[in-house]
């Protein structure tokens, strides 16, 4: 099956092409084609995984070269796929969660006239994302990277008849371009330093390169990761990306695409291992984002935006872990997988709630939904317990490990990074409990036209499967460090280090903070009445509600100066470049204007001119001959 892995990319891609080209004829059955294509990709991935496990031991990965892409003496790149534990983990996450979300979307998008187009884009996304994780060179990875950006753009703006949704799509696209520049610069520096872009050569030569080179490449890769994963300072697009249909938010903006940045960092481990400063920056960016996301999550009343802020914050955890080096890589990916399950499950739950409440997203108009939406309540609840990190649910196994790893090290780092991770856990507990209690508990604050009801089985079954994953996947993968050993060939073996505080103390502190956060949330939003209008709130609340004024900052720091720069350049172009050309042209025109007078239209004057000319030529010949 590993040699057939290319089919996992080709089938969804072909399906996307069919759905887009077939037009309205495919409206009746197009969505099932999309589901089948995604399931086929999952089966191929599962076959490859089974084969890998049955081969046993530490699997180093197999490269599958498909064709020569850029043949050349200085730079030659082949199109090849790399099947190793890391990539197969992603393949499984993408295709499994992807297929469930496909099934969910069949019901969710039932009344949308453009459902077929929606499935075409979803399939396009699956193909591009698989290409991203399976590529065996940075160049091919870049193709997938851009492909998922395109799919994300198309799906955020899926309802582009609404102006603000189209703007949100453009914003996501533009911010992602900034990250892409980082990846391009990184590739350029790799080519300059190693003369190659494929993982094998780059990683083999990375240990010999200078620290400065590796740090520069690492920071450029971090910029790319920040763009794609909505990390500080490129986080502004993710909240607005919630304009897309909810299944899209679940698949692309929670479970898979936004984690591509973490994949990039972990995949580039050999580069970061040689650049401790770049690693530190990665960890700090992760720590900042995890706190920033948590604060925003606490203030938002829009259920999807609160979940988006939570996604940002959780990816911050992953980035933090990825920045810790070999001790963190496996946990970053571990948390990524469990997060993929519980966050996708909660987004689908949010979609189910919105479906029942006439697309209402304001949590202040929810409340008491547990009675009418039992399945959604239970599945969402399992996801909530998982993200809180309550043992034995998934999040506990992955997040706790990250917090422990963050406390490893010397000097100030473990205290700052570990402290951020620890505080983040308490904040997470507060904002997720707030979201959960506001939606499902308390008194009903529904709008008059809302008649909530449980969603159809087509929607609830994927939610149930994801809820089971949220509950038990962590325990299953953590038993005997199963997952960490599986990833070891890629992430490298990590020596055991003791954190600066004893592990039981860390676990105890984390759980205590989580409990405190949850209890405060229960007091404020579960037991007490929640006002239907948001109270004014403190300065911090107002700032967090406005995403810490990220848009205003971007506008003041980047957009305005950029506009001034371009205006100056336009003026310079008009005055200097165009000015020189136009002046010259005007000179020639004046010359033509004056020489025009020579044409009198008088035949006899022409004849005279001719005669004079002939006489002159004759004179020259005669005198010249003498």
């Amino acid at each position: 099956m590993q040699s057939l892995i290319w089919l996992a990319i080709a089938i969804p891609l072909a399906s996307a092409a069919i759905l887009l080209l077939a037009g309205r004829r495919a409206d009746a059955w197009g969505h099932w084609v999309g589901v089948i294509a995604s399931s086929a990709a999952f089966l191929i991935g599962a076959g490859a995984l089974m084969e890998m496990i049955s081969e046993g031991g530490a699997h180093p990965g197999t490269t599958l070269t498909l064709w020569e892409f850029i043949p050349g003496s200085e730079l030659s790149v082949d199109v090849g796929l790399l099947v190793d534990p890391l990539s197969i983990t992603f393949v499984m996450l993408i295709t499994f969660v992807g297929t469930l979300i496909h099934i969910y979307s069949v019901a969710y998008m039932e009344h949308d006239p453009a459902r077929r187009r929606f499935f075409a884009y979803l399939n396009l996304f699956i193909a591009a994302m698989l290409l991203l994780v399976l590529a065996d060179s940075y160049l091919l990875l870049f193709f997938g990277w851009e492909g998922v950006g395109l799919a994300s753009y198309l799906l955020i703006g899926f309802w582009n008849q609404k102006n603000e949704y189209a703007t949100a799509a453009n914003k996501a696209f533009v911010v992602n371009r900034i990250g892409d520049i980082g990846l391009i610069i990184a590739m350029g520096m790799m080519f300059a330093a190693f003369g190659a872009l494929d993982f094998t050569t780059v990683f083999a030569e990375a240990p010999e390169a200078s620290t400065a080179t590796l740090t520069a490449i690492g920071l450029a890769l971090l910029l790319a990761a920040c763009g794609k994963s909505a990390q500080f300072p490129l986080q502004s697009w993710l909240g607005d990306a919630m304009a897309g249909p909810t299944p899209v938010s679940a698949l692309i903006h929670a479970a898979t695409m936004v984690t591509a940045g973490v994949y990039l960092i972990v995949r580039s481990a050999p580069i970061f291992n040689g650049a401790p400063n770049a690693q530190l920056v990665v960890a700090v960016v992760g720590a900042i984002t995890l706190l920033l996301g948590a604060f925003i999550g606490m203030a938002k009343d829009d259920i999807k935006k609160a979940l988006a802020a939570s996604t940002m914050s959780q990816i911050g955890y992953m980035m933090l872990a990825a920045g810790l080096g070999p001790i963190g890589y496996a946990f970053a990916i571990f948390h990524l997988v469990t997060h993929g399950f519980f966050k996708a499950g909660m987004f689908l739950g949010a979609g189910s709630v919105m479906h029942a409440m006439n697309d209402q997203v304001n949590m202040r108009r929810f409340g008491a939904l547990r009675g009418v939406m039992v399945i959604t309540w239970v599945t969402f609840g399992l996801g909530w317990l998982a993200i809180l990190g309550i043992p034995p649910f998934s999040g506990y196994w992955s997040k706790d490990k990250i917090i422990e790893a963050a406390f490893v090290g010397d000097g100030w780092q473990p205290w700052v990074l570990g402290g951020a991770a620890l505080v983040g856990a308490g904040l997470t507990a507060f904002y997720m409990s707030r979201l959960f209690f506001m939606t499902f508990h308390g008194k009903a604050r529904w709008t008059d036209d809302a008649h909530p009801h449980e969603s159809s089985l087509l929607m609830t079954i994927p939610m149930m499967i994801l809820a089971v994953g949220s509950a038990f996947l962590g325990l299953f993968l953590a038993t005997g460090d199963r997952f960490a050993h599986f990833l070891e060939p890629v992430t490298g073996h990590a020596e055991h280090h003791d954190p600066v505080i004893a592990i039981p103390v860390i676990i105890g502190l984390t759980l205590a903070l989580v409990l405190v956060g949850t209890v405060i949330a229960w007091m404020k939003y579960g037991r007490a009445d929640v006002p239907e209008e948001a109270p004014a709130g403190s300065l911090v609340t107002i700032a967090a509600r406005n995403d810490f004024f990220q848009d205003s900052v971007n506008r003041a720091v980047f957009q305005r100066p950029g506009q001034h720069l371009t205006r100056t350049l336009v003026y310079g172009d008009a005055a200097i470049v165009d000015g020189a050309v136009n002046k010259q042209a005007r000179g020639w025109a004046r010359l033509g204007e004056s020489s025009r007078k020579l044409q009198t239209g008088q035949v006899r004057s022409y004849a005279l001119t001719m005669l004079v000319g002939v006489v002159l030529i004759a004179l020259v010949i005669v005198l010249g001959g003498m």
Binding site: R596, Q599, T600, G601, Q602, V603, R604, A607, L611
Partner: protein, 99 residues
């Protein structure tokens, strides 16, 4: 007789012809001037042919006659057309190509 005299005669005829072209307004007269210049050139060619004992000049004279005959046909046709259009054959009248 000195053949050089023919060359001098040719020069005189050429000057008369060019003066006719430059000074007369009547198209027919100017046209005759052109013919006179062509024949002057012919005379010069034949004279040089005689002086140098070479036949090339005489052959060239025949070509000039052929071209002159063709030119007369075209030229007179143009003059008639212009006359029909403007009721005049003055060379100074048509000045549409003035820049």
């Amino acid at each position: 007789m000195n053949p050089m005299n023919y060359v001098i005669l040719a020069a005189i005829l050429f000057s008369i012809g060019s003066a006719a072209v430059l000074l007369r307004r009547n198209a027919i007269v100017a046209f005759m001037g052109v013919e006179l210049m062509l024949n002057a050139a012919n005379l010069a060619l034949v004279a040089f042919s005689k002086i140098y004992g070479h036949l090339d000049g005489q052959i060239m004279a025949f070509f000039v006659m052929v071209v002159a005959a063709a030119e007369v046909v075209v030229g007179l046709a143009i003059i008639i057309t212009v006359f029909r259009a403007r009721q005049t054959i003055s060379l100074d009248e048509p000045a549409e190509l003035k820049g």
